[in-house]
Symmetry: C2
Subunit: 172 residues, 2 copies
DNA sequence: GTATATCCGAGTGAATCAGTCGGAATAGGC
DNA sequence: GCCTATTCCGACTGATTCACTCGGATATAC
């Protein structure tokens, strides 16, 4: 339950790639898809990056050698913004969408569980506000470097996946 | 994004109703559906309550005057259990399901955003662990009594919906 | 002008959601 | 023993959403 769609997953990976190359030349979708393991889905990425651009999170240059870049440094991008751009407002229930929720929920006897959903929503937004794109990039770099560089990909990842993960340095 | 389905919504309402009548005679689904404003969906409720029973949260008695009751007092039921029973494990991404997540996610280059989803998942479970069925019932009773008893349903609910809601007494 | 990109609207097959349907089993009241 | 109220159970279905795909237009470097 409470799933994020592949839109969110791919979109975040795309942003991580842009963060990794922040400051350089624009990255094309085909470059991104290769280095993030999304080879087959370039056409789909187009759709996602559109939403990110429309929300002002990335800027594009067209034509040959064109591509995308972050419109702000990764440290100044909260994951909440990114996911909102990709998937719309955080709303565990229709009656608990961000912003005004009274309007919709005046129906019936007022959605007896309103408070619960608002509580969940606030927890999610807080969690996503506390993490920046730079944090996710850092965690990702760490994981990459821990994997042996000479192609021995067989190291089990289990021991490092506990609650004391890299993201706990994000200060929440 | 991050939606809870109507399964979760109706199922929680059902549980709130059972909590309100805890200690009395078993409640039939038709009674529940009437008092919770779910008149048309009795057949659907059947399906939901099944999941709740199979997870040991409610007990049933069959035949005439039969129905359902909570198998534990509302104070001892966390909303996390209830929602898990209704909607399955809390997993914002396939690679961040509760319990073991390494197995599935060993594919590709190891899901660069794993940490983020785990972080979100933990925030959600913490939020749902902090609230008991009794808390939701209490918040609901309060709302009911605040609505004028003589049918003047027109009072706007807005001022009381801020972050300092009743659920903040749950101690998180 | 050609190759490489982004841009844009529309379409589509598969999966999930939100129920519905038909009937079997169980228990209380007469 | 029958009738009624109820839970139990598996299967079915229409609508919606998801996860893409397609075809083409537009812009820019060389």
């Amino acid at each position: 339950m409470l799933r994020v769609s592949t839109r969110g997953e791919y979109g975040v990976r795309l942003m991580v790639d842009l963060a990794r190359h922040y400051g350089g030349t624009p990255r094309s979708l085909s470059e991104i898809s290769q280095s993030e393991g999304l080879e087959l889905k370039v056409q789909y990425l187009e759709q996602l990056v559109r939403a990110l651009r429309e929300h002002g999170l990335v800027e594009s240059t067209r034509g040959a050698h064109g591509g995308y870049r972050l419109s702000r440094p990764p440290e100044e991008m909260r994951m909440s913004e990114i996911l909102r751009a990709l998937e719309g407002p955080i709303a565990p229930m229709i009656c608990a969408t961000e912003g005004e929720m009274e309007v919709i929920c005046d129906r019936l006897d007022g959605c007896s569980t309103k408070f619960l959903w608002a509580h969940v929503r606030d927890a999610i937004t807080a969690a996503l506000d506390a993490v920046t794109l730079a944090d996710v990039l850092r965690a990702n770099e760490r994981e990459r470097s821990e994997r042996a560089p000479n192609g021995s990909r067989l190291i089990p990842l289990s021991p490092r996946l506990s609650k004391s993960s890299a993201l706990n340095t994000a200060g929440h």
